[in-house]
């Protein structure tokens, strides 16, 4: 049974993202530095980053124990389909069906109020984002 709070940062394995030939690809991911992104800025950073996913895992584990394996399997299947339906990068998707399935459309959270993705002042270039997505950078 997973716990409601995700694991503490000290117990995770950190992998530097690798490009072709097993060497870190600087065009795709920038200069790799073990020190740069690994110490958490806030003790809750890891917990918050994985909060929704962890809650989902916990709910599915409970469902599996209560109703059997079919229940989380069916729900996960529907969620997988909705997660594939996305717009091209640069444009924001509205996640309507995904939020209906997870129940997020009935809830208000700090993510809905602060840091609204609609109000981001800086926009990145869609060409670069597509190249990065298709790995042809």
């Amino acid at each position: 049974m997973t716990s409601l709070r995700p694991d503490v940062e000290g117990s995770q394995i950190l992998d530097l993202p690798n490009g072709k030939y097993g060497v870190p690809d600087m065009m795709m991911h920038g200069f790799q530095n073990v020190r740069s992104g690994n110490t958490p800025a806030h003790p809750l950073q890891h917990s918050e980053k994985h909060w929704h996913e962890n809650k989902k895992m916990m709910d599915f584990a409970m469902l599996r124990n209560l109703q059997g394996l079919h229940a989380p399997l069916k729900l996960q299947m529907e969620l997988n389909i909705t997660q594939k339906m996305r717009r091209l990068p640069g444009l924001g998707s509205s996640h309507v069906l995904e939020e209906s399935l997870t129940g997020r459309d009935m809830m208000l959270d700090f993510e809905d109020i602060f840091n609204d993705p609609d109000e981001v002042p800086l926009s990145s270039q869609p060409h670069i984002q597509m190249e990065k997505r298709l790995n042809i950078l």
Binding site: L4, P43, L44, W51, M106, M107, L108, F110, I113
Partner: protein, 231 residues
């Protein structure tokens, strides 16, 4: 049949009073109010968040929200942030199941009790409650008891002060009495520190004329079209 919530009105920044008359009893729903102690921004934002969630819930279900719903929402949010949101709350309200009073600590633990206190003046207020609380008090007696408890906090604790706010929630209506009792009125200045005329004796008077020389004269006409351009 009802809940009486009381709060003082002082907001401090360490040892300096930042706000002499802030309102610490926050609105959650028509039948629920929440007193907040701790960081002022945290209590304000948390209660606003939960008020929005309760409104959304009420629109979804079509029923007035229960106090235990608000309790659970607050508890789950505060536990998620592991005490980094330092908001210690006293939640009270009346719903279909009756009157309820909860205390919620910053790390997410809650207690359901007949009388609770939170904040820096909580010990003084709790002492008053422990002495004089009886179950099934009348409304006036309960209001006086809460007022006395807050006054105990105001006069014996540096972090609490100024006036007493009270909020009485019953099944049909809510009385938000702000201020209920002004315990600390600023005193009027009694004396005047200015000096009267004639305090210093005048020894001698001399009038001198300072000669001015006119250097240049310039005549400027005020053109009416550009002088007052109100377009």
């Amino acid at each position: 049949d009802g809940v009486v919530l009381g709060a003082d009105t002082r907001a401090t920044e360490d040892t300096v009073v930042a706000d002499k008359n802030c309102s610490k009893i926050h609105y959650l729903a028509d039948n629920m109010y929440c007193c907040g102690a701790g960081t002022a921004a945290d209590t304000e934002m948390t209660t606003q968040m939960i008020a929005s969630q309760l409104e959304l819930h009420k629109l979804n279900t079509g029923r007035t929200p229960r106090v235990t719903t608000a309790n659970r929402l607050l508890k789950q949010m505060l536990f998620r942030y592991q005490g980094h949101i330092s908001a210690a709350l006293v939640l009270g309200g009346v719903d279909v199941t009756g009157p309820h009073l909860y205390s919620i600590h910053p790390h997410g633990s809650t207690d359901k009790l007949p009388y609770v206190t939170m904040g820096s003046g909580s010990l003084a207020a709790m002492a008053t409650f422990e002495d004089r609380f009886k179950p099934n008090m009348e409304k006036a007696e309960a209001m006086k008891l809460v007022r006395d408890a807050i006054a105990a906090g105001i006069f014996n604790d540096l972090g609490s002060g100024s006036n007493v706010d009270l909020c009485v929630i019953t099944k049909d209506k809510v009385e938000y009495l702000r201020p209920f009792d002004e315990a600390n009125i600023k005193g009027k200045r009694e004396g005047n520190y200015g000096f009267k005329r004639g305090t210093t004796a005048i020894l001698s008077t001399e009038v001198k004329k300072i000669p001015f020389d006119i250097v240049s004269t310039q005549v400027v006409t005020s053109r009416s079209d550009s002088a007052m351009d109100t377009a």
